[in-house]
Amino acid sequence: MGTLIARRLLALVPLLVLVSFFVFILIALVPGDASVTLAGGENATPERIAEVREELHLDESIFQQYGRWLGGAVQGDLGDSLFARTAVTSDIAERLPITLGLAGAALFVGLLVGVPLGVLSAMRPAGAIDKLSRFGTTLGISIPGYWLAIILVVLFAVDLRLLPPSGYVPFFENPLRWLEHIALPAIALGTWSAASLSRQLRAALIDVLDTNYVRSAWAKGGSTRLIVVKHALKNAAIPVVTILALQTGYLIGSTVIVEEIFTIPGMGPYFLRAVVSFDVPVIQGVVLIFVLAALILSTLADITYGFLNPKVRVS
C-alpha cells in the first residue's frame, strides 16, 4: 500500500510540470498581455508600455518566463499579481479554504441526497421512487448550476427571504452565518453532484444486487439492512468512489461561476479577474492549484480502491 501511495505521489511531479507548462503556452498563444492596461490604458504611451513589459519580464521569451516562474514555484513562490502586486501564494492561501469549504459543502449535499436516493432507487427498479428519482436526477444533471443558483436566490432569498442572496461570513467567525451564506451555493453546486451520484450508485447497486452471493444472502433470510448496507453497498461503492473523486475536482472548478454569483471571495472571482486582465501569475497559480487538487483526489481514489478491494492492492 505504501509503495502504491509513493508511486502515485511521485507521478504527480512530472504531471504538474507538464500541465503548468501547457497552461503557460496556452496563455502565450493568446495575443497580447496586460502591459497596455498596466501602462494606463488609453493614456498609455509606447515608451511606458515598453517600460512595463521590461519591468514585468513580459519582453522575455516564453521559455525564459516559464523558467523564471517554475524556479519560484518550486520554492513555493508563485509570483506577484501584475495588478495588485500581492503575492499569489498568500492570496491563494487566503482564498483556497473558502473554495474548499464551498466544494466540501456541495459534496456533502451530493452525498446526503445522492446516496439514499440511489439506494432507494436500486432496491425497487422501475418502482415509483425509482421513476421519480430518475426524473429528478435527469433534471439535476441537465440544469446548469449558475441557472439553478439564480432560481434558488429568487425563491429562498427574494421571495421567501429565508437565506441571504449573496455574501460570505468565514466559518470560524460565525459558523451559523457561514452555513446561511453557504447553503444556497452548496445546493446549486451539489444538485448536479447528487443527481450524478444517485444514478451511478443505482446502476452499480442493481448489478450487485443481482449477483449470486446477494441472492444467497436473501435466501438465508438476511435482513434488507444487512444485505444492502453490509454486503452490496461495499462492492457497489467502487465505481462511485471514482465518480466522487472526479466530482470533487469538478466541484472545485465549478465554484468559479457560483462564487461570482454569490459574491464569495474564494478562488473563483480571483481567477475570473485574472483571466479578464491577463494577470498571468494569478492564472498560472490558480490553475496549478486546481490541477494539483484534481491529481490528489485521483490519487486518493486509487488509494481508496486499495481499501475497498484487496485485489487492487496486490496488483
Binding site: V30, V36, N43, T45, R48, V154, G167, D279
Partner: protein, 532 residues
C-alpha cells in the same frame, strides 16, 4: 387488479399532493413577494445607513486600493474620493473646474499653477490639512513609481509652499492647463502625513474626504461613516455609506429585491425585473461617456471623407438607442452631450440619419457596389454587442458591410496590433479626455494622428480659461473639425440606470456625473435615507 388500482390511486394522490405543495409554495412565495412596505416616511434620517450595491473588485484583480499612490487604475478615483476627496472637481457639466478641497486655483503662466486650499481643513485623524501636507502628498505620489499615472504628471517639477493654505506647482515645461485634470484625480489626492509616514494607508486610509473609513471586509463590504468636519458636511445627508459587493446583472437585482442593498446600478435589461414593484423605483439618465467607433482616416476605405460621412448618415441613432438602451440613452454626435454648455446643435444636425444621402455619398466615393470593413468590440460587453448587431443591419441597408470581431484584450488588439479596421467601444469619461484619441503619443490614438491643425485646436481647448467664452469657442472649433472630417463616429450616450427602495431611500435625483456605462459610481450628494 385491485392492487394495481390501489397503486394507481396512491400515485395519483402523490401527484396531486406534489402539485398542491408546489402551488402552495408558489402562493407563499408570491404572497411574500406581494408584501410591500408602504407608508409615508419622507423625513430624512441624517444618521441613516445607505447600502449601495457595487462590484468591489470589478476593475482589476486588485481588491480595492486605499492608497492613491499604489492604486492601479484611473477609475480608482471613484472609490478613493469618498475618503480623500479631490482638490478640484472635473469640468464635466459646466466646463469649469469646481472647487473641492482647494478653494481656488490660478494658472499663473504655462508652467505654474497656484492652488489655494480652503481654510481649516482637517484629516479624519484630526491633523490639519495645509499646504505642507498637500505638497508632501503630491510629491509622495510623484516619487512613487506607478505606471498608471496620467503622463502629464511627469511634467511636475516642484511644489513651493507659499502660505499655510497656498502652494505653487511648478512644471518642467509648458502645460499648465494639461495638468489641471490631475487636480481632480488620484495624482494629487492628499493623504494624512502621519498615516503615510506610518505606512498604514492600505489598512486604515486617512484623508479629508466626506467619509471616514469604517471597515473593509474583503470583496464583501466597504463601510464608510460621515466625516462631521468635512468642509462640505452639509451636503453629506447620510450617516453611513455601505458599499456592498454584488455582481451586476441578476445577482444585483436579487440583492435589491431581497433586499440586502438599498440602491444599485442595474442594466436596462434588468429594469423589467425591478419596475412595477411598490417598494422599488428606477431612475435613469443618459451618462456622460459615449459609445463610438474609432476609425483611421488614412486607411482605406476611410481615407475617403465621403465614406466616413456615409457611415455616419447611415446610422439611425434613435433606433440604436431603442435597441440598446430601450430609449433611455441618448443619440451622440459629438464629445459633449445635449444640456452641457459645449453642445453644438449644428454639429448634431450635420450628421442626421439620411440613408439616401449615405448611398449617394458612397456612390460618389466610387463604392456603388458597397464597401466593407471590420470592427472590434470588447467581449462580454452586451451594449456594444447589441449596438454593433443593429449597426450591421443599418449599414447593410446602404451597402456597407461590417464584420464584427470580439476581443478579450481590446487595448492590445486594436490600439497596438490593429487587428481590425475600426474599434467600437465605450469611452467612459467625456470632456477634455476625449482629445486623447487624437493626441500624438497616446495609445488610444488609433490612427497615429499628428495633424498640426487638430493639435492646435486641442491646445486651444486645453489652454482656454475654464468657463470662459474662449473655452466654448475652442471646444466648438475642435468638435467641428472632428465632425467635418468625421474622424470618429459617435453613436450613443449610454443609459445610467439605478434601482432603489423608495420606502427607505430617495435616489431619484441621482446624477450620472461619473457613472459611465456601468452606472457604478454613487452620487452620494443626491441620495438620502428616510426615517423609520
Amino acid at each position: 387488479m385491485k392492487r394495481n388500482d390501489t397503486r394507481r390511486s396512491v400515485r395519483r394522490l402523490v401527484g396531486v399532493c406534489t402539485i398542491v405543495v408546489l402551488a402552495g409554495t408558489s402562493l407563499v412565495a408570491s404572497s411574500a413577494n406581494a408584501v410591500s412596505p408602504s407608508g409615508k416616511k419622507s423625513a430624512i434620517d441624517p444618521n441613516g445607513t445607505l447600502r449601495f450595491g457595487v462590484e468591489l473588485n470589478n476593475r482589476s484583480p486588485q481588491l480595492v486600493a486605499f492608497d492613491p499612490a499604489t492604486s492601479t487604475t484611473t477609475n480608482d478615483v471613484w472609490n478613493l474620493a469618498f475618503i480623500y476627496d479631490t482638490l478640484l472637481y472635473p469640468p464635466l457639466k459646466t466646463g469649469k473646474y469646481e472647487p473641492g478641497l482647494a478653494r481656488s486655483f490660478e494658472v499663473v503662466d504655462d508652467q505654474t499653477i497656484e492652488v489655494e486650499l480652503r481654510p481649516n481643513l482637517t484629516f479624519h485623524d484630526g491633523e490639519t490639512l495645509d499646504a505642507d501636507a498637500a505638497s508632501a502628498s503630491i510629491m509622495r505620489n510623484f516619487e512613487t513609481v506607478n505606471s498608471s499615472w496620467n503622463p502629464a504628471f511627469a511634467n511636475l517639477d516642484s511644489i513651493e509652499v507659499l502660505s499655510p493654505t497656498t502652494f505653487r506647482i511648478n512644471l518642467t515645461e509648458p502645460g499648465a492647463y494639461a495638468f489641471l485634470p490631475l487636480l481632480a484625480a488620484r495624482e494629487t489626492m492628499v493623504v494624512s502625513p502621519t498615516a503615510a509616514a506610518a505606512g498604514t494607508l492600505e489598512e486604515l486610509p486617512i484623508g479629508a474626504g466626506p467619509f471616514e473609513f469604517g471597515e473593509y471586509d474583503t470583496e464583501q463590504l466597504l463601510s464608510l461613516t460621515k466625516f462631521k468636519d468635512y468642509w462640505n458636511a452639509k451636503k453629506v445627508r447620510i450617516g453611513q455609506l455601505d458599499l456592498v459587493s454584488s455582481v451586476a446583472g441578476a445577482p444585483r437585482v436579487a440583492a435589491l429585491l431581497a433586499p440586502t442593498i438599498d440602491v444599485g446600478g442595474i442594466s436596462v435589461s434588468d429594469v423589467g425585473g425591478v419596475d412595477g414593484r411598490d417598494d422599488l423605483k428606477v431612475a435613469t439618465k443618459p451618462s456622460d461617456g459615449f459609445l463610438y467607433t474609432q476609425l483611421c482616416k488614412s486607411e482605406p476605405p476611410f481615407d475617403n471623407l465621403k465614406v466616413r460621412q456615409a457611415f455616419s448618415h447611415a446610422i439611425n441613432r434613435d433606433e440604436l438607442n431603442q435597441a440598446v438602451y430601450d430609449g433611455l440613452g441618448a443619440p451622440a454626435y459629438m464629445a459633449w452631450s445635449e444640456g452641457t454648455p459645449f453642445y453644438e446643435p449644428s454639429i448634431a444636425k450635420q450628421q442626421k440619419y439620411n440613408p439616401k444621402l449615405a448611398r449617394k455619398l458612397l456612390a460618389e466615393a466610387g463604392f456603388e457596389d458597397g464597401v466593407s470593413f471590420s470592427t472590434m468590440i470588447v467581449a462580454g460587453f452586451p451594449a456594444t454587442e447589441t449596438l454593433t448587431t443593429v449597426l450591421e443591419q443599418q449599414l447593410a441597408e446602404v451597402g456597407i458591410e461590417i464584420t464584427i470581431e470580439q476581443s478579450a484584450n481590446y487595448a492590445q488588439d486594436v490600439w497596438v496590433d490593429r487587428k481590425t479596421d475600426t474599434g467600437t467601444v465605450p469611452w467612459i469619461r467625456s470632456g477634455v479626455e476625449n482629445t486623447i484619441m487624437f493626441d500624438p503619443g497616446f495609445q488610444a490614438n488609433l490612427c497615429g494622428y499628428d495633424d498640426p491643425e487638430l493639435n492646435d485646436l486641442r491646445t486651444a481647448v486645453l489652454d482656454a480659461v475654464p468657463g470662459s467664452p474662449a473655452q466654448h469657442d475652442a471646444w466648438t472649433a475642435w468638435m467641428k473639425h472632428v465632425a467635418d472630417n468625421m474622424l470618429v463616429i459617435y453613436h450613443l450616450y449610454p443609459a445610467s440606470v439605478i434601482g432603489f427602495h423608495s420606502d427607505r431611500v430617495d435616489a431619484s435625483k441621482f446624477d450620472s456625473l461619473y457613472s459611465g456605462p456601468s452606472a457604478q459610481f454613487l452620487d452620494w450628494t443626491a441620495m438620502t435615507v428616510k426615517k423609520g
